[in-house]
């Protein structure tokens, strides 16, 4: 359990640094593409965690990103929404044998196709909420959809790359 806690704290720190230092400060702003890597904290979270704990982790992670991005509530609101939808999304894609309590949702544990379906839906929930909260008006409907699609395609690439670099265990 301590091992698990340490691993999650390290992942939390790595994701914050990757997001802020690399994807926000180093990469130039493109109109329709923003790269989101920090939602992995919820995507890769263990099945052992209760939903309430997931929501609190999402809120904390979101607020830290908001802090650095001058966007109070936008990242946090979107990630909390994603964390709340996770049980539903997991039940949609539940494998025949069910989920193993000690195996976190990764490509190596449940397969590439399963992970692609699960992570895509999670990311779409996150990005749609994020860009809707950012504009806070449906006048920008076309912008919201274009930004969601652009950011989704590029973020998914990095979400896969992350797993090959850091190899999440369990």
């Amino acid at each position: 359990m301590n091992n698990d806690l340490a691993r999650n704290i390290i992942r939390f720190v790595i994701l914050v640094l990757l997001q802020v230092v690399i994807f926000m400060d180093m990469i130039p702003d493109w109109k329709y593409i923003s790269i989101f890597i920090y939602p992995l904290i919820i995507i890769l979270a263990s099945f052992k965690y209760s939903n309430s704990l997931l929501l609190l982790i999402a809120f904390a992670m979101g607020l830290i990103i908001d802090f650095t991005d001058n966007s109070p509530g936008v990242h946090a609101g979107a990630l909390v929404m994603m964390a709340f939808s996770r049980p539903l999304i997991l039940s949609l894609f539940e494998p025949t044998g069910g989920y193993l309590l000690n195996k976190i949702p990764t490509v190596s544990n449940y397969g590439l196709v399963w992970f692609a379906k699960y992570a895509s839906l999670m990311m779409l929930v996150h990005l749609l909420t994020y860009f809707s909260l950012e504009s806070f008006s449906f006048v920008y409907f076309v912008t919201i959809i274009s930004k969601t699609i652009g950011s989704f395609l590029v973020s998914m690439i990095f979400i896969f790359i992350y797993q090959f670099i850091f190899v999440p265990k369990e």
Binding site: V20, V21, Y32, I33, L55, D66, G73, G77, E94, Y99
Partner: protein, 277 residues
Amino acid sequence: MRSPFQYFKGNSFLLFFVLETICLFLVVGYNKSQKEIFINSTNIFTGKIHEKTSEFSNYISLSALADKLSVQNAELRKQLIELETRMHQDSNFVIDSFVELDSTKIYEFLPVKIINNSVNKIYNTFTINKGKKDGIQYKQGVIGNNGVYGIVIRIGNHYSVAMSILNPEMKVSGMIQGRNYIGSINWDGDVTHVKMNDVPKHAIFEKGDTIITSGYSSIFPKGLHVGVIDTFWIESGRNFYVIDVKLGEDLSKMTYAYVVNHKSKEEQLSIEAGENE
């Protein structure tokens, strides 16, 4: 092997509702009101992160920055020589171009570095590396060498956040140089252009004319370069032009800027008198 729904606790929906409500309050409060909210990058910790990473990326583009500065330096030298020659030739010389200084106002420019900047959001902002301790005040203008950047909206002790000109809440009063038509400048989503409205139908101007600040508010001095006219048209049934203005600078690449501090002359005189006593 258990379904995740077995871990669903009844109170998690309540928690979701509470957290999401807090987030909504933060979003609405930040966009609609100008009061200081704790969560922004003016705090020391995230300010430091942005500062370090911007130092690093500036280091990479150091030669490009040096080129830019030397071009600007050459331009300033040229203007200085021109002014000196004209002053020697003409005893009745008055400054009528470049920055037209209003005799009742005195402007000071504080150099700052932009350490974090967004251009692809709907409400764009940027962070500068000076704050309350350096004398930055609410609603001061931020300008660059060749353009208007924004207005300070939040102040921390060491860092401040400014609303970028690429923000729908930003309004700047502009003027067509040499023709003296005034209009209001605002942004409608294109990263390289702003729109100028309220120029009357009878006005005469052409593509390529320069747009400068009008100096009607004390935020920006008169005569700062904003951009050049790209296209213009009149929407049917309206009496005013819509002018598409190409910004003088690529705002995604801004690194150095100046914060405008304006003092009235009387205030300046009284301060100076006080110091002599």
